[in-house]
């Protein structure tokens, strides 16, 4: 049984209870960091990672590198890429892929699965409440102005009942482990979390390129995601429609996640539509097809709220579908995710999440938060300013790792710049202690070296919640870097959840 730690989290014993001597990867040294393979300051491997560790040790690094290069070339050829547009060119890039998988033992995963499901249930309960009775605000558990004054709070959603009371049908929870090996939630992604296509493509790539590494291991399958997503869409289609038509709504080829949109529509066997392919007539949504206008019943939309419907939201949006919101309110079309979920994954609301879980579910959070200081609160602001050189300071509205100050790694000038910004607009910031993210062996320049990782599991919620047994392991490829975002030099790894 996992032991409960003092801070309410759970310590996973990754180090061996009965260490058996295993050959170490030559020269691999995680130093003081928690290692996904070795645990904390261990010199021999944790049992769950042992077979992979041994096999890796048995492959000549030059061969490993050659196979890794082939794998990356294949990702490029298959167009598992995002496109960078410059003035002259459109350049395809792959998300750098590291061939050494991250391995998660079954017991550890069971806990993550329960923790993620709990979090998703709380997020959906919270969203229902803030768009209906607002009891949690009346009870003072979460400050009302934090929610009602949030730029992602959509007052158009007040009183609207989404099917199954679900708002965040696809949710990604970002997890990190610090030096103590405890998984903590770093961020919730309740709007349009991306990256799941890499989880599945990485797996297919690994099985093609490194079947020997996985030989004899019972690794849980990730291939069911498309079917589950399609089922969730079917669940939210208007009642009484047999064989509902579903589609994925994308902003189009210029979106950096366009590959994922392709991937998911292919997995689901549904059309990938853009705003121009859809039309609303009499509050019903239609697709323009070769046979004329065909009714559409549920949409997995990868367009932000703001751009979804120029009649209700931003009038200058060319990506959306005029009239879509009214069709939605009338119950004629299912939308995943619902509109207005951004208020739940706001970085300031995040700080209240343990209390939100307790409020709705009457449970302690299975996965604790990273300790967070809210600068809109006087004591949080004071603590942040007093300790800024030791803290990570984040603007609440940004994503993709932008605008973050990592105090211990920042220059005097950077610290002072952020300090001024925090003083000027405290409610736009939170701060957290710096987490020394866990590391995982990573192949770089022919050597296996420790690099920091995080983990984003994905949950799909229709009539029930299902957590994909795997997740996106992002890895910061630059030495010493703690920023795993793909826009900032991050790559990804396959994530093996053992059965």
């Amino acid at each position: 049984m996992p032991a409960k730690s003092a801070n309410g989290g759970v310590t996973i014993s990754t180090g061996p209870q009965n260490p058996t001597a295993r050959p170490r990867l030559a020269g691999y040294d995680p130093g003081a960091y928690f290692c996904e393979f070795l645990g904390h300051r261990q010199t021999s491997c944790a049992p769950h990672a042992g077979p992979v560790f041994d096999r890796l040790s048995g492959i000549d690094p030059a061969e490993l590198t050659a196979r890794a290069r082939d794998a990356e070339q294949e990702l490029y050829n298959l167009g598992i890429t995002f496109t960078v547009y410059t003035e002259r060119d459109a350049i395809d890039r792959i998300l750098p892929f590291d061939v050494i998988p991250r391995v998660i033992p079954a017991a550890e995963w069971a806990l993550l699965e329960a923790g993620v499901s709990q979090r998703v249930a709380a997020i959906n309960a919270f969203l229902w409440d803030v768009y209906h009775d607002q009891q949690i605000l009346k009870d003072g558990v979460v400050p009302a102005d934090l929610v009602l004054g949030n730029k992602n709070y959509r007052k158009q959603m007040i009183g609207f009942d989404p099917p199954q009371k679900v708002y965040s049908h696809v949710c990604g929870i970002d997890l990190v482990r610090g030096g103590d090996g405890v998984y903590r939630v770093l961020e919730d992604n309740a709007r349009t979390p991306s990256g799941v296509s890499y989880v599945i493509e990485n797996r297919q790539m690994m099985m093609r390129a490194f079947p020997d590494l996985a030989e004899g291991l019972a690794i849980r399958d990730v291939g069911d995601y498309g079917r589950r997503l399609h089922q969730a869409l079917t669940d939210i289609a208007p009642a009484g429609v047999d064989d509902p038509q579903c589609a994925l709504l994308s902003p189009g080829v210029f979106n950096s996640a366009y590959f994922e949109h392709i991937f998911l529509s292919r997995e689901m066997g549904t059309a990938l539509v853009e705003g121009r392919d859809l039309l609303v007539e009499n509050d019903r949504v239609y697709m323009r097809t070769t046979a004329g206008l065909a009714p559409l019943h549920a949409i997995y939309r990868r367009i932000d709220d703001d751009f979804l419907d120029p009649r209700t939201f931003r009038p200058d949006s060319l990506l959306g579908v005029p009239g879509l919101f009214e069709a939605y309110r009338k119950g004629n079309i299912g939308l995943a995710n619902a509109i207005g979920t951004g208020v739940a994954d706001d970085k300031a609301v995040y700080a209240y999440m343990p209390r939100i879980i307790r409020y709705y579910l009457d449970q302690d959070a299975i996965l604790p938060n990273v300790e967070t200081y809210i600068c809109r609160e006087p004591e949080g602001l004071k603590y942040t300013l007093d300790n800024i050189e030791n803290l990570v300071v984040k603007p609440v509205g940004e994503s993709g790792g932008y605008g973050i100050l990592i105090g211990p790694r920042a220059s005097r000038a950077e610290i002072e710049k952020t300090r001024a910004e925090v003083i000027a607009d405290p409610s736009n910031f939170i701060s957290q202690p710096m987490i020394d993210l866990s590391v995982c062996p990573t192949l770089l320049d022919g050597k296996i070296v420790p690099r920091h990782v995080d983990l984003r599991p994905f949950a799909i919620t229709g009539k029930n919640t299902w957590v994909l047994p795997g997740g996106l392991t992002r890895v910061a490829l630059r030495e010493g870097s703690l920023v795993v975002n793909s826009s900032q030099g991050g790559g990804s790894k396959d994530t093996w959840v053992l059965a």
């Binding site: 298959l78 059309a271 039309l279 097809t289 046979a291 206008l293």
Partner: protein, 325 residues
């Protein structure tokens, strides 16, 4: 009842097929022109190639009146700024394929993606004259690989029909252009009649359409402008002849509309019927007497009309009222 096909997909797949076909035809033409079309002083004459795509103005804009072989070759092979270059065709095919990735097979996409990326990498260096033939072979092979992959992997519902229709229309169009331009460019002056040059030029025309050997099976002896033109326009067994392609479009379109209960294809059908009726009533002699250029012009006009009809009927241009729900 199978899944409805998004109008935009139908359009993309129609054009994807056309662009690959166009790239292949252009590669054939350049290759053959390079190898066979020397004039009597042994130099290349590229006028016909430039005329084929009505590119003269655009070419002159870029290069002035200098028709140096390496400039023309670059203009047609790898020039990203010339919309009628092979590179531009492949890029357009791949862009369409990108939008179609949820629909087409992974292998179709991946092949076009690699095809494009290879060409794009080749643009770093100018294409040497000595390498042109090899380049053209590569394009032809890649286009044929595309055709083969499509044949073997592409699911044959509505999208497949639009693909085949696009391909056949483009092929018919390319053949009419080839015959039209060459016939007039190569009409022998009195002193040339029956000389070796004349024959080698017509030889080249046939080879541009991959039709030399097939032609020889039908006409073991002799070669005249009329017989070559007649073969390329009317032969019902040659895969690139105008008649073969038009018949293909006709049966595909009929089958598409019947099988998927598409009721708005009649405009395209009407234009196609007119075209078929004309082709059925013509002979080589009547066409040449009436004026080959005018006849081929009529064919091209009808093909444009068919394309327009397909566009209006199926690509979402004129849709505003929902079907009965």
């Amino acid at each position: 009842m199978s899944a409805p096909l998004l109008a935009r997909y139908a359009e993309c797949i129609f054009w994807m097929a056309r662009y690959v076909e166009r790239a292949e035809n252009l590669a054939r033409l350049i290759d053959v022109n390079e190898v066979f079309s020397h004039d009597r002083r042994g130099s290349h004459n590229w006028d016909a190639v430039i005329a084929l795509n009505s590119d003269r103005e655009r070419y002159i804009e870029r290069h002035g009146e200098r028709f140096a072989p390496e400039l023309v070759i670059h203009f047609y092979c790898l020039d990203a700024n010339n919309p009628t270059s092979i590179f531009s065709c492949v890029r357009a095919a791949r862009e369409n394929a990108r939008a179609l990735r949820p629909l087409i097979s992974t292998e179709m996409w991946s092949h076009l993606n690699v095809f494009y990326n290879d060409l794009n990498a080749m643009r770093a260096q100018p294409l040497a004259l000595g390498a042109v033939s090899k380049f053209c072979s590569k394009i032809k092979q890649a286009a044929q690989a595309h055709t083969g992959i499509t044949e073997g992997t592409f699911y044959r519902d509505q999208g497949w029909y639009f693909y085949q229709i696009g391909k056949a229309i483009e092929r018919a169009d390319q053949t009419t252009r080839l015959v039209d331009i060459k016939y007039h460019a190569l009409l022998p002056s009195l002193s040339d009649v029956g000389t070796d040059i004349d024959i080698s030029q017509w030889n080249a025309v046939l080879r541009s359409a991959a039709g030399y050997h097939a032609y020889r099976r039908v006409h073991p002896r002799g070669m005249s402008p009329k017989s070559v033109s007649g073969f390329l326009v009317f032969n019902p067994l040659f895969p690139r002849s105008v008649v073969t392609c038009v018949r293909q479009v006709d049966s595909l379109l009929t089958e598409l509309c019947t099988r998927y209960n598409l009721r708005s294809g009649h405009k395209a059908m009407e234009r196609l019927d007119e075209l078929r009726a004309a082709l059925d009533s013509w002979t080589v002699d009547s066409v040449v007497n009436r004026g080959l250029h005018e006849s081929l012009d009529f064919v091209q006009g009808q093909l444009i009309g068919v394309t327009d009809g397909i566009q209006r009927a199926f690509f979402g241009v004129d849709q505003d009222t929902p079907l009965a729900v």
